[in-house]
């Protein structure tokens, strides 16, 4: 029995829209388990990213609870949320969003420095190791504008895990990458998950979704389906793809 690390109860999120309210999330209940690679899928506009942002404390839900470590993060103060973002959660954006005037190495060490549990040299060593692992150590002194999108995203992964987060959130991490870079980044995420990292990824890419061992399907702000899969490394990939495809087709994806 896997342990719940994060859960959402009756989660709602609305935006002001054309003088009215646009309900993007509607009473979502879900749980995220430790060490799992959970994938959220859904059509465009279904609320996938909104759910991810609400769960990760990047945005506040309009109603409902997001429980993490016994606390409802919806009710946390701005300072507490900021601490949560740099110490417990890691986040990977679709557009990488590296700080453009910092080198790749600096982009990774800055959130590390925010975490006062580690010394500066420890942060720096870990950042160097991560960049090595992400195969971008040779370009660590480059600015984001001087490297490719794939290299930027690998750096963004390193940044997201610099503080060894409890949960790694990824919002369409391969959405802006070519085929080769997509595979590289997904391999990195799979490897991290294999090492015990809990991952929650939003994607509409079937190949990316195959990496998860649990897929949630969102439609009109509600979770309407859940598919459990064996570990990515085990089993036949073709059969896995067929299974997921069939499931998605049944959900009219």
């Amino acid at each position: 029995m896997k342990q719940t690390i994060l859960s959402a109860k009756d989660l709602c999120k609305s935006f002001a829209h054309n003088g009215g309210q646009l309900h993007v999330l509607s009473h979502v209940d879900m749980e995220l388990y430790e060490g799992e690679f959970t994938v959220i899928m859904g059509a465009s506009g279904s609320g996938k990213s909104t759910l991810l942002y609400a769960l990760s404390g990047m945005d506040r839900a309009t109603a409902g609870e997001v429980l993490y470590g016994g606390k409802d993060i919806v009710k946390l103060k701005e300072k507490e949320l900021a601490k949560l973002r740099h110490s417990d959660f890691g986040f990977i954006f679709q557009q990488m969003h590296l700080v453009s005037n910092l080198t790749l190495l600096e982009n990774v060490v800055v959130p590390g420095y925010l975490n006062k549990d580690q010394s500066a040299s420890e942060v720096r060593n870990r950042a160097e190791q991560l960049l090595e692992k992400m195969s971008v150590s040779q370009i660590k002194t480059h600015l984001p504008s001087q490297v490719s999108g794939g290299e930027q995203q690998r750096c963004a992964v390193a940044r997201a895990v610099i503080n060894e987060p409890k949960v790694l959130f990824a919002d369409e991490p391969t959405g802006a990458l070519n085929r080769k870079n997509t595979t590289d980044v997904l391999d990195l995420l799979s490897e991290l998950n294999r090492e015990g990292q809990s991952v929650l990824m939003v994607t509409h890419d079937l190949r990316a979704a195959l990496r998860g061992n649990r897929i949630l399907y969102l439609e009109d702000g509600k979770i309407i389906g859940e598919l459990k899969l064996p570990d990515y490394r085990t089993g036949d990939e073709k059969a896995r793809e067929t299974q997921v495809n069939a499931w998605l087709t049944s959900l009219e994806w």
Binding site: V24, S44, G45, S46, G47, K48, S49, T50, Y53, M58, D59, E78, K79, A82, K83, L84, R85, H86, S87, F91, F93, Q94, Q95, H97, L98, V99, S100, N101, L102, E106, V109, V110, P111, G112, Y113, L114, S119, A120, V123, L143, S145, R159, D171
Partner: protein, 790 residues
């Protein structure tokens, strides 16, 4: 026709974009409106107040029908022969005479006015102004015994009011009067002119005159007469030429104790408003330069952040010319709105503050706003601004639609950086510094603006410090003393030694000067002269002191005015005697606004000058001055009269400089606020994504705001260094140009710690605080903005 339709179409396109731009960039538009409004307000207010003060002086002269030339004599010296000679001169239209007696000192409100003043009978020509100087009074009530009318100049000097008592000390005794009103005397009423005239009742006048007459001796005269001379209409000479030529032919000025033309009186009366408004106008010109920098900077940033938009516009067929016209229209519209609002707001303000200089000019201001000049100055701003806009928007020509749309944006931002590592200890500060060095051009404008503001703040501090610092004033050649001793009879060297011994009992004498101030004839012109026992006590600007009895040293202003050089020979006269003297050097002399010269006592004796020199003492510590003066007057009562000196360090000057300092500091902070707000708003738009990223990785709002503030602080610190360098290099020169009118031709800058520290501290903390406040928008950035879909 097709051309006309095309043109109308072009205008419509620009108008549509203009409206959209103003709607979307309200903050930027309003900031330019506000900056121009401040400039227009300042220009209108300063010129309006100055013009009103000047108009008041002119109107007062007209009202009082003041003479072209005024000469004052001891009564016994003015002969009928002299009067007739002047009257019969073809250049003279009319001559009138009046009698007065001298009072040596006026004591009011516990304060002393130590210049000799002329006491006259009030008559039907006596005219008054309202007690608060708000206007002219229609009539002057007849004075009763014990009542007096005095000009505002006295009240300003002694901090007195109507209704208070004034005691006049004369050789005939001391007499107390109640001030019944403020006398309108545009010729001598100003607080900066030493001569003064008071009016008393006929009964009092006759009574006191009789007592003085009894006390008059050959060495001590106190009954005088003055001659008021008007130039004939057909005489085309200027007033200085008229005075010089009339004096050369009749000696009418040489025989007097002093003379003044109407032009000179107006010059001295308006000197102070002129200097203050000049200093403030220089400051306004610098603010104008700042507006231009802000405009250029703002447009430059706008082009960078709208690079893609301009590419799209170009792709749609908009030429660079149209986009540039759009910028021109947007900024000029903002400036014109600001200018109109500024003028409109300042007019009522001038109405209530026009009389601000009345305490100095001693006449009511007459409201007058020089719209033509203001319009001209603001037109210069518009023209310069248009030129700057056209210059900075040239780069729009170089925008390639394809390159812009395909994302050349990244090449524009953060194109260079300094290798300062990001540290964990000062994370926010090091990140702020990185952000600063990555977008140096964005802060270049702030650097220049702070440089200008700090430069001028330091310049005004230098002026204040120099005027209030005795050593600094002395280094410029000013004679700054604490005690002046006026002999009542011829004193021997032993007498002065005894006096100095007495002073030395309470304070150490730092410097001593034996001199006097009197009007001598200089090349036929009456010029104030300082006969010195030892002129070498003064530091010469060029050449050397006049140590031989055939030498004089002059002020550079006098040298320029008469087209002379060191080594030239000039004619100097005292009363009827004249001799040739060589100019040995130049001194910085401030008497009569720098129209002055120095002679040795022996040199003066060559032309019959026999007046007793004063002993003036500069003390190391001035706390005991009052006590020393009292003990000198008590101990040597029959030989001398000791006084506390009045000079440049007096309250009026200090107050005026403090007033200017306040205006300059307040305006500098106001400008800083607007500039920070403008730059911050643009930086915020450009860095919105980065702010979102920083928030996403765990930075708090407070930390991000601190980063913003530190960047502006860095720019302000660097700008302050520029300001300090500019101040060191140019403050003295600027002050010399402005203060030339009061005789300062060589300004020695005295930099105190506060001179530097105060402006830097004020501007840097202002920038830090304003940037921190402006960065409040960081709160509004949502991390959600980083995501591209729901």
């Amino acid at each position: 026709m097709a051309y006309l339709v095309g043109m109308v179409g072009g205008v419509m396109e620009i108008l549509t974009l203009l409206k959209a731009n103003i709607r979307h960039k309200k903050g930027s538009f309003m900031s330019v409106v506000l900056l121009t409004m401040i400039i227009a307000m300042s220009v209108t207010t300063i010129l309006g107040i100055k013009e009103s003060a000047f108009e008041g002086v002119y109107a007062s002269h007209e009202r009082m029908a003041t003479p072209d030339l005024w000469v004052e004599y001891y009564a016994y010296k003015l002969t009928d022969e002299m009067i007739n000679e002047v009257k019969s001169d073809a250049r003279v239209e009319s001559v009138s005479l009046d009698e007065f007696f001298f009072a040596d000192k006026s004591v009011m409100n516990g304060n002393e006015y130590t210049n000799s003043v002329m006491i006259m009978k009030a008559d039907e020509d006596t005219s008054l102004v309202e007690d608060d100087l708000s206007g002219f009074r229609d009539e002057a009530p007849e004075l009763k015994k014990g009542e007096i009318y005095v000009p505002q100049g006295l009240l300003s000097n002694v901090e007195g009011k109507v209704g208070q008592k004034v005691t006049l000390e004369t050789i005939g005794g001391d007499f107390a009067f109640t001030v019944k009103g403020v006398l309108l005397d545009p010729y001598f009423g100003a607080s900066v002119i030493g001569w003064k005239r008071y009016c008393i009742s006929e009964e009092d006048y006759d009574e006191i005159r009789a007592k003085i007459e009894q006390k008059e001796t050959e060495e001590s005269h106190a009954i005088g007469k003055y001659m008021e001379i008007n130039k004939a209409d057909n005489c085309l000479l200027t007033l200085p030429q008229f005075r010089r030529q009339l004096n050369q032919d009749t000696g009418v000025v040489d025989m007097g104790n002093g003379s003044l033309t109407r032009d000179m009186s107006i010059y001295y009366t308006t000197l102070f408003p002129q200097i203050i408004s000049s200093i403030l106008m220089v400051f306004i010109m610098l603010l104008l330069a700042i507006v231009l920098i802000v405009t250029v900077h703002s447009i430059s940033m706008e082009i960078e952040s709208n690079y893609v938009t301009f590419g799209v516009l170009k792709a749609q067929g908009f030429g660079a010319g149209k986009i540039r016209i759009l910028f021109l229209a947007q900024y000029l519209l903002a400036e014109i709105i600001g200018a109109v609002l500024g003028i409109a707001v300042s007019i009522p303000f001038i109405g209530v503050s026009a009389n601000i200089f009345a305490a100095i000019t001693a006449v009511p201001a007459v409201l007058s706003v020089p719209f033509g000049l203001i319009g001209l100055l603001l037109s210069v701003l518009f023209v310069l601004s248009a030129a700057a806009i056209l210059f900075v928007t040239v780069k729009i020509k170089r925008i390639s639609p394809v390159r812009a749309i395909s994302g050349a944006k990244k090449e524009i931002y953060f194109d260079s950086r300094l290798n300062v590592p990001i540290g964990s200890k000062f994370l926010s500060a090091s990140l702020a510094f990185r952000q600063f060095t990555s977008a140096k051009r964005r802060y270049l404008g702030i650097f220049a603006i702070v440089g200008i503001l700090v430069f001028f703040m330091m310049t005004i501090n230098v002026l204040s410090h120099t005027v209030s610092s005795k050593s600094a004033s002395e280094s410029m050649g000013m004679v700054v003393t604490e005690i002046d001793v006026m002999p009542k009879k011829q004193l021997a060297e032993e007498d002065f030694a005894e006096i100095e011994k007495e002073i030395g009992r309470n304070a150490k004498i730092e410097k001593k000067y034996y001199y006097r101030v009197d009007y001598f004839s200089f090349e036929g012109e009456q010029i104030v002269c300082q006969p010195y026992k030892d002129p070498s006590v003064l530091p010469p600007l060029k050449g050397r002191a006049p140590i031989y009895d055939n030498e004089i040293a002059v002020s550079p202003i006098l040298l320029d005015e008469f087209g002379l050089e060191i080594g030239d020979e000039v004619t100097v006269g005292w009363e009827r005697e004249k001799e040739k003297y060589l100019i040995s050097g130049t001194f910085q002399l401030m008497n009569d606004a720098g129209r002055s010269f120095v002679i040795s006592q022996k040199g003066a004796e060559r032309i019959g000058y026999e007046r007793w020199l004063w002993g003036c003492y500069s003390l190391e510590e001035d706390e005991e001055t009052g006590k020393i003066v009292d003990s000198l007057n008590e101990k040597f009562t029959d030989r001398i009269e000791a006084r506390e000196s009045q000079g440049m360090t007096d309250g009026t000057y200090q107050l005026a400089i403090l007033f200017m300092q306040m205006i300059i500091y307040v305006f500098s902070l106001l400008f800083s606020l607007i500039v920070v707000h403008m730059v911050c708003a643009k930086a915020f738009v450009q860095e919105r994504t980065d702010i979102g990223i920083y928030k996403a990785i765990g930075f708090t709002v407070a930390k991000l705001r601190l980063q913003f503030a530190v960047r502006f602080l860095t720019a302000a610190v660097l700008g302050s260094c520029l300001g300090a360098v500019l101040s060191y290099a140019f403050s003295a020169r600027i002050l010399e140009l402005i203060l030339y009118r009061i005789g300062i031709t060589s300004f020695k800058t005295a930099f105190g710690v506060l001179t530097f520290v105060l402006p830097i501290a004020v501007i840097c903390s202002g920038f830090f605080i304003f940037a921190y406040l402006s960065s409040g928008k960081v709160k509004k950035v949502q991390i959600r903005e980083l995501v591209q879909s729901l």
